[in-house]
């Protein structure tokens, strides 16, 4: 078994990585390669599929099979790959423009069908490769070359869109948190079905610091909540803050342990199989709430290509007819050579 790569390095291709120095993509690449080593993935059985954009260069840097396709269509190509060979381990790499703007339709249908792929969206809230225009996740007021007076469009929430589309696995991660990111990717890889992971990724050139209000070292503890199934939803420097449902509402509220009689019994526990809770967590935003990181939702369901194969296998095992029989179904008649 000497052929099995065991370190992250074994998954790196011989290509020179060409992202801008300091780009968050480097960290994600590293985390993915670490994940591959950890799960002992086989390079020959792995396919990375991407569309267009900075993130879409990803497949070139992996020592696996890779398909750098056209803008927004990676989910559709990945679906075709799984239809032809469900055994392949497929990763879809996309960005906020690729997945949520030009490829928005395919995003919805990939997760709705629950095709068994890892679907990573690197969200930097900006168009990088085309030089800095606003993206569908850019916040209102973002000044860019195509919105010099400030963006007036409301941003889309990738995680809420995934949940609304019927996703069975929805997670969030941050490029710079190597350990947590790798752990989330390992879980995503282990999940059977579409595992959707939004990764906050810093674009140093066109949108530097877009997430610094919750990723900066001095903000992280107070403005991030790392959710874990079965564990109380606590955050803050000394885990003194928590989330609970505000009485008589369906809203979350931030409470502090020890204040106003709040005890750990008042704090919600994370149930990753609860879609309503996942939606509440996904919808939390600064400054009133911390940003939820980790596996927000995980509930296995029917897998598209598995169901199709079941159908085909069931039919083919029972079938006794060949294609000649198909051509002869229905009314046929014989003409004899004697011309009677």
């Amino acid at each position: 078994m000497t052929n099995i790569p065991i370190t992250a390095k074994d998954f790196a291709s011989d290509q020179e990585v060409r992202w801008c120095p300091g780009c968050g993509d480097y960290a994600i690449l590293k985390a993915v390669q670490r994940t591959m080593a950890q799960v002992e993935a086989k390079t020959e059985n792995t396919v990375f599929v991407s569309g267009i954009g900075c993130a879409a260069r990803f497949p070139y840097y992996m020592a696996t099979y890779g398909f750098h396709a056209i803008h927004g269509r990676a989910p559709a190509i990945a679906t075709g790959i799984k239809l032809a060979n469900p055994e392949l381990d497929v990763w879809v790499i996309s960005g906020d423009g690729d997945a949520l703007s030009i490829g928005g339709n395919h995003f919805v249908h990939l997760v709705r069908r629950n095709v068994d792929v890892q679907f990573l969206v690197f969200n930097n809230e900006i168009y990088g490769l085309t030089k800095g225009q606003f993206s569908p996740t850019s916040r209102v007021g973002t000044h860019t070359p195509s919105s010099p007076l400030g963006c007036i469009e409301n941003p889309v929430s990738a995680t809420l869109l995934a949940l609304g589309s019927g996703a069975h696995f929805v997670a969030r991660a941050i490029d710079s948190q190597q350990k947590e990111l790798t752990a989330t990717l390992v879980r995503a890889h282990g999940f059977k079905g579409t595992s959707f992971v939004e990764i906050y990724q810093n674009c140093l050139v066109y949108n530097d610091g877009a997430f610094s209000t919750f990723t900066a070292k001095d903000k992280a503890d107070e403005m991030q909540i790392h959710v874990e199934h079965g564990k109380p939803l606590l955050f803050g420097t000394d885990k003194s803050k928590g989330l609970r449902i505000k009485s008589d509402t369906l809203k979350l509220e931030v409470v502090t342990l020890g204040e106003n009689g709040i005890t750990s019994d008042d704090i919600l526990c994370h149930d990753e199989t609860d879609k309503a809770m996942a939606a509440l967590l996904a919808d939390m935003s600064e400054p009133d709430f911390p940003v939820a990181i980790g596996v927000l939702y995980c509930k296995p369901g029917h897998i598209f290509e598995v169901e199709i194969r079941k159908m085909v296998n069931a039919a083919t095992s029972e079938a006794t007819c060949n294609l000649n029989d198909v051509l002869r179904q229905g009314h046929t008649w014989s003409v004899t050579g004697d011309g009677d």
Binding site: A76, N322, L327, S334
Partner: protein, 594 residues
């Protein structure tokens, strides 16, 4: 009415007549009954000789309401016969059809033989024992009329009886009522002596039909079966990806019913997803096929370019319809030829072939699969709405006797080397994911010939551009030489056609040859690359006439390739050519040459 027509077609085929049909129906699913735009028409041409078209003007018209009479009367021969349901000729229906007065009572129909019967009432009487509602009972009237027409042409009723029993297995009362209506119509025709000579028409069995097992087949069915057989001959799984669009959907429907033959059908979320999934399927080692009509092909254009750039086997079927834009979804046209050849960004060559008839879709689908896998290229196969819905008798081939063309996957070697191409076809090596040691990356960016890696090198881009063109041009070695369908191999005039105009052109040319006129017919199936002898062959004629259901697209290709001063005969009405239209044009051109 399409079902009624289908049943007459079947009975006619079983009577060993040759035949050709034309379905002409509105785009609306249930267009308002009685309106002229809601008329659903079915035309059939049958006889003892070889039938090449659905016919020009017809001998018999069955008009179930005033609107049908209004819309179709112009196509009836003078002296032709009309069977009308007088029960539907009330003021309201007359008004809806735009008649100021009742055409049965003025001289509108003076030039025809009219059989007036209250088919509505006769049907209601015939189905009374079955206790249907009035609405259900009236729905049986098409079968009453069918019974009547069956008697006129000596058709057997059994195939229709069998069909009704199967179709309405869950509602035996409906099946029995329709059978009763069919029998009642047949009986009335037999006893009423309404037809001159009282015996109806006898169309003898067509002579010289090659022996064998036959069925009727539509273009949509033949296309689907050809794709299934083509993938089998390539020894690949078929992954068929499509988004519903008129008139291409019959292919999706037919293949969806063939799951037991290891056929995966995928109804994608849109046209782009359909072609991309097909590309993904081919990438992973199946034969990816996508099918659509013009508007959908427009949406697929970028992805087809990706398949050209990544040299992926892919079959794209375009069942053409009238455009531009949404155009006339249920009407036929040949106006996507230039789109097929040139409708992509960049220098983006691929193979284009076209089916000539419903049954030819089977052969051409297999040919598309063969070329796509042998040359690692997309192949665009053109059909059209006319072929897709038309039916004809088909000598059923023995699939086991067709020559297989198994693909040669790249499975061994220390690493993937994209520069090791097939010496003859220039096809790139096909290494599919799952193959150890051959991991590599592909994409829509220009690639180095030597390494397959991204390359911005100017000389390399020139080389790859030339290579892609040369590979497609090289397919010419692998296609049959251009032959002549009718007439001499040189002379004053040749009529050059492609696609579904085969029937009317061939009949028109044959008719005029019979009359001693010097005219020939050349039918081109391989649109790109063109057969290598085509230019030499056509240069043997003084004049070239190119009839097309577009404003002159193939003629541009002929002019471009050979600098021929060809003449066009163009029709963009959503309707196929009439034989006489082609005949008239031939006569005009022959006159001009004198």
């Amino acid at each position: 009415m399409q079902i009624t027509g289908g049943q007459f077609t079947l009975a006619t085929a079983v009577a060993l007549n040759n035949l050709s049909t034309f379905a002409d129906f509105p785009a609306e699913i249930r267009a308002p009954v009685g309106t002229t735009f809601g008329v659903s028409a079915f035309q059939i041409n049958f006889g003892s000789r070889v039938i090449k078209t659905a016919g020009d003007d017809f001998d018999v018209l069955v008009a179930m309401n005033p609107a049908a009479l209004k819309v179709e009367l112009h196509g009836l021969k003078t002296g032709g016969m009309i069977l009308v349901d007088t029960g539907s000729f009330q003021d309201r229906n007359l008004h809806r059809a735009g008649y100021d007065s009742d055409p049965l009572k003025d001289d509108t129909l003076a030039a025809y033989r009219v059989i007036e019967l209250d088919i509505s009432q006769l049907t209601m009487d015939a189905v009374k024992p079955f206790g249907l509602t009035k609405k259900e009972a009236l729905r049986c009237k098409n079968f009453w009329a069918l019974g009547y027409v069956f008697w006129m042409f000596g058709r057997e009723r059994q195939t229709t009886v069998d069909w009704l029993k199967t179709k309405f297995a869950a509602r035996p009362d409906i099946a029995d009522a329709n059978i009763a209506a069919l029998n009642a119509g047949h009986a009335l025709a037999e006893t009423a002596e309404t037809i001159d000579g009282s015996h109806g028409f006898i169309i003898p069995q067509a002579p010289d039909i090659p022996p064998g097992l036959y069925r009727t087949v539509t273009g949509g069915e033949a296309m689907a079966w050809g794709l299934a057989v083509g993938a089998r001959l390539a020894e690949l799984g078929l992954v068929f990806c499509s988004y519903p669009i008129t008139p291409a959907t019959p292919v999706l429907h037919t293949l969806s019913k063939m799951v037991e033959h290891d056929i995966v059908t995928f109804q994608a979320e849109d046209e782009i997803a359909a072609v991309c999934a097909a590309i993904g399927a081919s990438y992973a080692g199946a034969l990816g096929v996508t099918s659509s009509s013009g508007p959908g092909i427009s949406l697929k254009a970028e992805a087809i370019g990706l398949a050209v750039s990544t040299e992926m086997p892919l079959v794209i079927v375009n069942t053409q319809r009238a455009g531009p834009s949404t155009g006339l979804p249920t009407k036929t046209e040949q106006s996507d030829l230039l789109q097929a050849l040139y409708g992509r960004n960049g220098e983006c060559p691929l193979v284009v072939i076209a089916a000539r008839s419903p049954s030819d879709c089977f052969n051409m689908a297999i040919e598309a699969c063969r070329i796509a896998t042998k040359y690692m290229t997309p192949v665009l196969l053109l059909s059209d709405g006319y072929i897709s819905n038309a039916s004809e008798p088909w000598l059923i081939p023995d699939v086991d006797k067709l020559e297989a063309f198994p693909i040669d996957l790249h499975t061994d070697g220390p690493c993937f080397d994209p520069s090791v191409r097939d010496d003859v076809t220039l096809a790139k090596p096909w290494a599919i994911p799952g193959t150890p040691c051959l991991e590599h990356r592909i994409g829509g960016l220009e690639k180095s010939f030597a390494t397959g890696e991204i390359s911005y090198n100017p000389d390399n881009h020139q080389m790859m551009t030339d290579l892609r063109a040369e590979k497609i041009n090289g397919v010419v070695r692998d296609i049959p030489d251009q032959g002549i369908e009718a007439g001499a191999d040189s002379g004053p005039l040749v009529v050059v056609g492609w696609g579904s105009t085969f029937g009317p052109i061939n009949r028109a040319v044959s008719n005029l040859i019979d009359q001693g006129l010097p005219v020939s017919h050349v039918h081109v199936s391989n649109i790109w690359p063109l057969p290598k002898n085509l230019g030499a062959l056509l240069s043997g004629f003084e004049r070239i006439l190119v009839p097309e259901m577009n404003s002159g697209q193939f003629i541009k290709v002929l002019r471009d390739q050979f600098l021929f001063d060809a003449k066009g005969l163009n029709k963009v009405s959503g309707q196929p050519f009439k034989i006489h239209e082609v005949e008239d044009a031939i006569r005009t051109h022959l006159e001009a040459l004198k």
